[in-house]
Amino acid sequence: MSLRALPALLLRDLRLAVRHGGESLMPLFFLFAVLILVPLGVGPGPNLLATIAPGMIWVAALLASLLALENLFRPDFEDGTLEQWWLGHLPVTGLVMTRLLSHWLITGLPVILFAPLAAQMLYLPDQALGVLMLSLLIGTPILSLIGGLAAALTLGTNRGSVLLSILVFPLVVPVLIFATGAVAAAADGFSPRAHLGLLAALLVLALTLVPLAVTAALRLNIE
């Protein structure tokens, strides 16, 4: 039993993402599209922008994560690489986790890295920036997990993308509420601990349950 398969898979996924180039930059493009378009829509008033900043950054993170889901398992499903997962010596759940990690590295991490810039552009109060980063750090992996589940469930259908959004939307409601709540609380000078704690609990729950559900869904869909 060798664990080399996991880094090999991760490296290959990242290499493919780089080779697709444009596609992997889409999350960032989305973040900035939202950052520029929303002020143009609602006006440049610092107070208003500061109020909606956490929500906007989080919606951008959500859209970025949604964007890459259609390609999470489908290309592998179509070229036969996915079924090879069941031949190996490794539990499929491990491979699923690796794939979700690469999704997070491509869609979640860039948003986190550029969040300080976005926060400045939207006049988010300074004391809220740390909490924003923390909420993204805890919350975006949940987005990847839930998105991965939706992608796995819709894999065997041929009109996946619309369904994907319908499935993801209700499941991410709590993430959005707790994460933006934390940032808003910090901006207003209250303690964000309760929100962040609940968000972390969600992450733990998602980390334990989602990979199993994804594995089961993939197994059914490759039949």
Binding site: L153, G156, L163, V173, P174, A217, L220
Partner: protein, 252 residues
């Protein structure tokens, strides 16, 4: 022991022709029961119960709103139990029945949302209030729609049912979390709105129509579920002999 009884029971009932016969006999009775209960319930609700001192007659809306809301949630619980049985023992009948719960549950969720919004117009002065219950119901509606959409998107209905059953169980874990988060969110963002039914402030004279309507709605859920499951079974087995036999037996 009890598990075994459930399993054997479903297997016995699970044979397609026997379920077909069972549902054909039982469903009309459930519909009749629903008709009876709802006639009594509506009569009480509109004619007998006196107007509320605070809400006047608008509270009468709640006699369709609340049973629908309860059934929307109870329907999800029924669907989850069926889905769990379907995933554990791979019994086709429970797969089909779990899937057929979704459109009926969605219908009740829709009634609940529509009537809640109508009730809110005179009471809150607005068609939509980001009230915790309404918002969770809206999310529940989307979960129902997601389940229906997922099942519909598969050509192999058995595979589709099992995949959608996973979603049903994921939803079951999520619905309390969603409800809690929305409640938390609304209490942070707004003051108290009028409670739909205040804490045990309901006068006992207001109860009977609620009870009748609730029973009626439950019977209706069962009836619609049997009807839909029977149709789904016929569709899936249309190439098989037992369906052909039913076709040729019926003269009409």
């Amino acid at each position: 022991m009890i598990w075994k009884t459930i399993k054997v029971g479903f297997h016995r009932l699970g044979s397609a022709p026997s379920f077909y016969r069972f549902s054909t006999v039982v469903s009309p009775w459930l519909w009749a029961g629903f008709a009876l209960c709802s006639v009594i319930g509506v009569y009480y609700a509109l004619y007998v119960v006196p107007p509320d001192y605070q809400q006047s007659d608008s509270f009468r809306i709640l006699y369709v709103h609340v049973p629908s809301a309860w059934q929307a949630m109870a329907g999800y619980v029924v669907m989850s139990i069926l889905a769990a049985i379907a995933l554990i023992w791979r019994i086709r009948l429970t797969e089909i029945m779990a899937m057929m719960c979704a459109p009926i549950g969605a219908a009740f969720t829709a009634i609940c949302l529509a009537t809640g919004s109508i009730w809110g117009r005179p009471m809150w002065g607005t068609w939509w209030e980001w009230d915790a219950r309404l918002t969770s119901m809206l999310v529940l509606l989307f979960i129902y729609l997601g389940i229906m959409g997922l099942y519909a998107a598969f050509d192999d209905k058995r595979k589709g049912a099992r995949v959608a059953c996973i979603l049903v169980l994921v939803g079951l874990v999520n619905i309390p979390i969603i409800h809690f988060s929305v409640e938390w969110w609304t209490t942070l963002h707004q003051g108290k709105t009028i409670r739909i039914f205040g804490e045990s402030s309901m006068h006992y004279s207001m109860m009977p129509p609620l009870i009748w309507m609730t029973i009626g709605v439950k019977l209706m859920f069962g009836a619609a579920l049997l009807d839909r499951a029977r149709n789904e079974l016929l569709t899936q087995d249309r190439r098989k002999g037992w369906v052909r036999k039913i076709l040729s037996n019926k003269g009409d």
